[in-house]
């Protein structure tokens, strides 16, 4: 146990939360729009990074063009999944069928990435200069850390703005509340759901690009998708604002458990947080409690 590491762990948790909040946002965005949990979230992280690699490294396109193309393609793939698969399951009220479908999508996407890019590693970069910032003798952050944090805050702000203020956001909330009523009031529910899939895919593709640039792109990059599930459960599956404290709690649980008990308890600490939240507030920190008339 090294108490001197606590300030470092606190600062690192804020940075890590910036990453987790975006992955969590993808889960929540899609759940709010379509009531579906997407277990292919991690594969969209990987796909975004791989496409960015194709445009920047293989085709030598400028950063902004590469970024836009990568995000557009990922959005189109996300929307297509709804259009060609999920939509056909309309009327199937079961919870498990769409979940199994997303598991299938994750396998197919992994296979496509493997066939297209191989199982090796891909190096991608952002147009920033690598720098280290020493805040004190044992607290240091890198320029990549700061990019992760800033991107996390900006994307969260935009997502919240879109959902609260835009026409699409209002339609999405209406469709999530009652698909039938929303549809009868003239909302094109299908288009709203496609937007939800596209938005959720874009958010994690951004994670893939920013996080992939700070490390290396390999098939295991997809594993980060499941971290977002923990954040979404803790924050409340229908609450975007809840993601911020949830991401901080998960990141703090990870880092402080390492300080006090060592690296091996990192994953267990996250699970303990989930168990406590589910026991005390099953709907999550800021989630809406479902009321069922019996």
């Amino acid at each position: 146990m090294n108490f001197a590491e606590i300030p470092n762990a606190l600062v690192s948790s804020i940075i890590l939360a910036g990453l987790y909040v975006l992955v969590g946002l993808s889960w929540v965005l899609l759940f709010r729009a379509t009531q579906i949990m997407n277990f292919a979230t991690g594969q969209f992280v990987l796909l975004g990074a791989c496409l960015y690699y194709s445009f920047t490294v293989s085709l030598h396109l400028p950063f902004i063009v590469s970024l836009l193309f990568a995000l557009l393609i990922v959005a189109a793939i996300g929307a297509s999944i709804h259009r060609f698969f999920i939509r056909r399951m309309a009327g199937n009220e079961g919870f498990f069928a769409p979940v199994v479908l997303t598991l299938g999508v994750s396998t197919v996407l992994s296979q496509i990435v493997n066939l297209s890019y191989g199982a090796g590693s891909l190096a991608i970069a952002l147009p920033i200069t690598q720098k280290n910032f020493n805040l004190s003798s044992n607290i240091a952050v890198t320029s990549n850390d700061l990019v992760t944090l800033v991107v996390g805050v900006v994307v969260m702000f935009i997502a919240q703005l879109l959902i609260r203020r835009s026409r699409w956001g209002i339609q999405m909330r209406a469709a999530a509340e009652s698909t039938v009523l929303a549809s009868q009031s003239g909302i094109n529910v299908d288009r709203v759901f496609m937007g939800g899939w596209a938005g959720a895919a874009v958010v994690v593709a951004i994670v893939g690009i920013t996080y992939g640039a700070s490390t290396i792109v390999t098939p295991t990059l997809a594993d980060i998708g499941i971290r977002g599930l923990a954040v979404a459960i803790v924050g409340g599956f229908d609450s975007i604002v809840g993601l911020i404290p949830a991401a901080l709690i998960v990141a703090l649980a990870e880092n402080l458990s390492v300080v006090f008990f060592g690296e091996s308890v990192r994953d267990a600490a996250v699970m303990i947080v989930i168990l406590i939240v589910l026991a005390v507030r099953p709907q999550g920190l800021l989630g809406t409690k479902a009321v069922v008339r019996v």
């Binding site: 001197a4 690192s12 191989g118 590693s121 020493n134 044992n138 295991t220």
Partner: protein, 401 residues
């Protein structure tokens, strides 16, 4: 009328048939036959994880392609002794025990001579038990039984703990004026095999006089090492030893360097791609490897191997160390077939495998292969570092091929 005598006779016959059947089952089956002249082909099976849905796909596809590339090239030259071609059957176990066992049974009931390169230890465990009973050569890239191999039928295609401990500690000692009292830190991802590495490595470092400070295993899912980096910085080690995964190493190096720690970092066992080493581009990062760097095409052996892969249409994974491992293992299998030809049976083929080594020839250090007392294929490890002027990983003096 049925007499007591007739009943006794029938019972005795039934017991004799049952005994003969069970004895035959105990002996195991060897579908390969001896004819005295060279057959048109030998069959060997590669049973590994070829599915991208599983993390070990990083190794399965390259290792199978490396194996097939060597055999394709050999077949183009007429095969073993220029007469007998080698038919390679690939079976995908998806890192799943049930699928692996079904594949193994399928191979066993065919005329295959050996079942090679099983990727996961969990899959190999039940296969190894059956392979020993059935008498068929089997190899693995997992850490089954600590990676030492099981005699006389189970071979290990990768280095084992003893090889890593020996090279890593020797290299670490070369970085300081005296190991005695010098601080050293250890960080690795957690797996059953790596737990063995950690125990053996720590024990050797302590016996060499190092002062082992931070010594932790992180989950393979860990993406952040800032706390570890801070703790290590406070330790002021002279050397840091890591066994981190491809996706973890760049982040760790970045975070430890951001804390102003500039000491040598020695990463071992994790098969770090050359592209990753180039991306990290750290002048004091060293990698302990079991094959020559695959991006160094000035190495004639690597260039030839990759040209053969191109010709065979098997380039997927040809920049991966596991591709080289599969290629070298095929070379050993071919040399063993040459020894037992023309009458290769499972038994004679395994006896030949048990005594076959091949020259490393620029692909591996030392002479990879097997002996009756050593079933670890890789005999010597190398240490590489990234040379930014050549934009290649290069071997370190004293630890080369």
């Amino acid at each position: 009328m049925i007499t007591k005598h007739k009943i006794r006779m029938v019972a005795a016959a039934a017991i004799a048939i049952a005994l003969a059947g069970s004895l035959a089952a105990c002996r195991g089956s060897d579908n390969t036959t001896s004819t005295g002249k060279a057959p048109s082909s030998y069959t060997v099976t590669v049973g590994t994880d070829l599915s991208s849905a599983f993390s070990s796909a990083c190794c399965g596809i390259p290792i199978a392609n490396g194996f097939k590339t060597y055999m394709d090239t050999l077949n183009d030259k007429g095969g073993v002794n220029g007469k007998t071609k080698v038919n390679v059957v690939s079976l995908d176990d998806q890192a799943d025990v049930t699928t692996g066992l079904a594949n193994f049974q399928q191979a066993l009931s065919s005329n295959t001579l050996g079942y090679f390169l099983t990727s996961a230890s969990t899959v190999l465990t039940p296969i190894a038990a059956q392979a020993t009973k059935a008498g068929i050569a089997t190899s693995s890239i997992g850490g089954y039984m600590g990676g030492v191999g099981v005699y006389p039928y189970v071979y290990n295609s990768l280095p084992n703990s003893a090889s890593y401990v020996s090279t890593v500690t020797k290299f670490a000692a070369a970085q300081v004026s005296s190991a005695s009292g010098s601080g050293i830190d250890f960080l690795a991802y957690d797996s059953t095999l790596v737990e063995t590495f950690q125990k053996d490595m720590t024990s050797k470092l302590n016996s060499d006089g190092w002062k082992v400070g931070y010594n932790q295993l992180v989950p393979s899912s860990a993406t952040d090492f800032s706390v570890a980096a801070g703790s290590m910085a406070a330790d002021h080690p002279k050397v840091i030893i890591t066994d981190l995964l491809e996706g973890q190493l760049p982040t760790f190096v970045q975070q430890i360097r951001s804390h102003g720690v500039t000491v040598p970092i020695v990463n071992f066992s994790s098969n770090i791609d050359d592209a990753t080493v180039a991306k990290i581009n750290d002048p004091n990062l060293y990698l302990v490897e079991f094959t020559a760097p695959t991006s160094d095409t000035s190495n004639k052996a690597i260039a030839t191997m990759q040209a053969q892969a191109q010709k065979a249409g098997l380039t997927t994974g040809d920049s991966n160390a596991f591709f080289v491992t599969g290629y070298v293992q095929a070379e050993i299998v071919a040399a063993a077939l040459k020894k037992c030809a023309p009458d290769c049976t499972r038994k004679t083929f395994n006896a030949a495998m048990n005594t076959t080594t091949v020259p490393g020839n620029g692909l591996m250090a030392g002479n990879p292969g097997f002996s009756p007392t050593n079933h670890v294929m890789v005999k010597k490890l190398i240490v590489v570092k990234y040379d930014s002027s050549k934009q290649l990983p290069v071997t370190v003096s004293g630890f080369g091929l």
